[in-house]
């Protein structure tokens, strides 16, 4: 990611995160991996911005485009900032409301801790869309 991307500053803005079917469990429980970047993500967690789209649109755009999802969870820019995680605008050609949460520079243990904390916050907030039975 280039350093020039503007940082998100509205701490109340929600960041939508898709829940992959493999991370969705009985009782609407999700795994903490949902909120941790994988090696292919190069340290950035992909999210969509609530100021530019709805959770439902975010979901539909995702499942009609690049992947599978059972629903949408959310954390706010402020909640990420509380965990020393900065968020940045990252509009894509096919997804103008895309953004990134930056996990770079953290140890593996720190990434685990922050992912578990964000998942806990998001679960308590509840699903913003879905969950739909994995199909």
């Amino acid at each position: 990611m280039s350093a020039a991307k503007p940082q998100l500053t509205n701490h109340d803005e929600e960041l939508f995160r898709q829940v992959a079917p493999k991370d969705y469990r009985v009782g609407n429980v999700v795994t903490s991996v949902t909120f941790r970047p994988l090696p292919k993500d190069e340290g950035y967690l992909s999210v969509d911005r609530s100021s530019l789209t709805t959770a439902e649109n975010s979901f539909l755009q995702f499942v009609n485009g690049i992947g599978n999802s059972v629903g949408v969870l959310a954390v706010t820019v402020g909640e990420c900032a509380n965990e020393q995680l900065n968020s940045y605008e990252d509009p894509l050609p096919n997804n103008g409301w895309h953004a990134l949460v930056d996990f770079n520079g953290l140890t593996r243990g720190q990434q685990e801790t922050k992912a578990k904390l964000l998942r806990d916050i998001a679960e308590k907030r509840g699903y913003r869309h879905g969950p739909l039975p994995p199909g």
């Binding site: 009985v26 090696p39 599978n68």
Partner: protein, 379 residues
């Protein structure tokens, strides 16, 4: 008249109130039979011209229990001397006979094997089998300290491990009790034949005792979800690994529970992954790798009492398990390439963290200890 023969001091939790639990009394009978067996072999060897043992040979070795010393339970074994000639000798110093030499030889054999040395010269190998019942009822934390009535006699420790090593000097295997937890792999209702798999992956085919129709019924309806506790006697090899079940005395079906059903569903889903399952061109995970994680987690669950986690793949090289118990959020990532496991624990309440990365198979106990400490006990 009676003469001191040996002191067997039993040490362990069961003996702390100085009494001999009745179920351990066969140990004294086994000790007597061992002494008699060795004495017979010594006599035969020392009297090659005699085709038979003297009449009433065993009557010459009458061992009795008249007193159990305090401290820990320490039965004093005394020998009744009946022959007039020997009674006369007792007042002076009786010449040691086969029984006395058998006692000393047994003591030296135990001492030698416990320190990894060869059996003492002259120890009759045929008598080694008589060690099987001696020490059979001892638990892991229990020992017998044996001493002869000599001035400044050393106490020779004897326990289950030494017993097993002595038996391995006679052959490739030894027999011992077992208590195992196993997964039912297949079952043949008509023949009662079934196959079980131990947490380390080893498969055994015991005969299912009668009266276990419930296990058969569940195993048939929901294969892969039945776990049983087994008790009985088995044959062990030099690596302390059970080779076969000789006698199956007790079979208990464990409650399958929703967690176990979910666990098995997850395993099936991981085994059914297809190309590009992760949206990143990921290849399916080889069954042998899934099976390794399955056996590892079951070992933690069944042997080390760790709750069943949720299980899911992250990348073609990593399978992850997670436990959430009360405010503790604990995870274990199994790297299928390196066979390392990375453990991470977080208290959502206090934010206390812990982590550990080790070679999984070599450090199973350490992994189990980490999880035991981090996961609150489920009441």
């Amino acid at each position: 008249m009676l003469q001191p023969f040996a002191k067997l001091r039993f040490v362990g939790a069961r003996f702390e109130d100085h009494g001999m639990p009745l179920e351990t009394l066969p140990e004294l009978v086994a000790y007597r039979n061992l002494i008699v067996a060795v004495a017979k072999e010594l006599y035969r060897r020392e009297n090659p011209d005699k085709r038979r043992l003297p009449k009433h040979f065993e009557d010459r070795i009458r061992l009795e229990l008249r007193n159990v010393e305090g401290g820990s339970a320490a039965p004093i074994v005394e020998r009744r001397v009946t022959r007039q000639a020997e009674i006369a000798e007792v007042a002076e110093t009786r010449t040691p006979d086969e029984a006395d030499r058998a006692r000393d030889l047994v003591e030296r054999a135990i001492e030698a094997v416990s320190t990894g040395q060869e059996l003492p010269a002259g120890f009759p190998v045929d008598a080694l089998a008589f060690f099987a019942p001696f020490g059979h009822s001892l638990r892991e934390d229990e020992q017998i300290f044996i001493s002869a009535p000599r001035p400044n006699a050393n106490e020779v420790p004897y326990n289950k491990e030494i017993r097993n090593n002595l038996l391995l000097r006679a052959g490739e295997t030894y027999s011992d009790d077992f208590a195992l937890l196993a997964e039912v792999m297949s079952i043949e209702i008509q023949t009662g034949g079934w196959e079980v798999r131990l947490p380390d992956g080893q498969r055994l085919r015991p005969t299912l005792p009668l009266g276990h129709e419930e296990i058969s019924a569940v195993a048939e309806q929901a294969p892969g979800t039945v776990f049983v506790g087994l008790r009985g006697q088995g044959t062990y090899n030099r690596n302390r690994k059970i080779e076969k079940i000789d006698a199956l005395e007790e079979v208990t079906m464990l409650e399958p529970g929703q967690a176990l059903v979910n666990f098995n569903t997850s395993l099936r889903q991981i085994n059914e992954l297809t190309q590009n399952w992760d949206g990143n061109d990921g290849v399916p995970i080889p069954v042998k790798d899934v099976d390794w994680v399955k056996r590892y987690v079951l070992n933690l669950t069944l042997v080390h009492d760790i709750p069943i986690p949720i299980l899911f793949p992250i990348t073609p090289n990593v399978i992850r398990s997670e436990w959430r118990v009360q405010q503790m959020d604990v995870s274990a990532e199994f790297d299928l390439s390196t066979r390392n496991v990375y453990l991470h624990s977080l208290s959502l309440e206090t934010r206390r963290e812990a982590e550990l990365e080790v070679a999984a198979d070599e450090h199973l106990s350490q992994v189990a200890a980490f999880l035991s400490v981090q996961l609150p006990e489920i009441v």
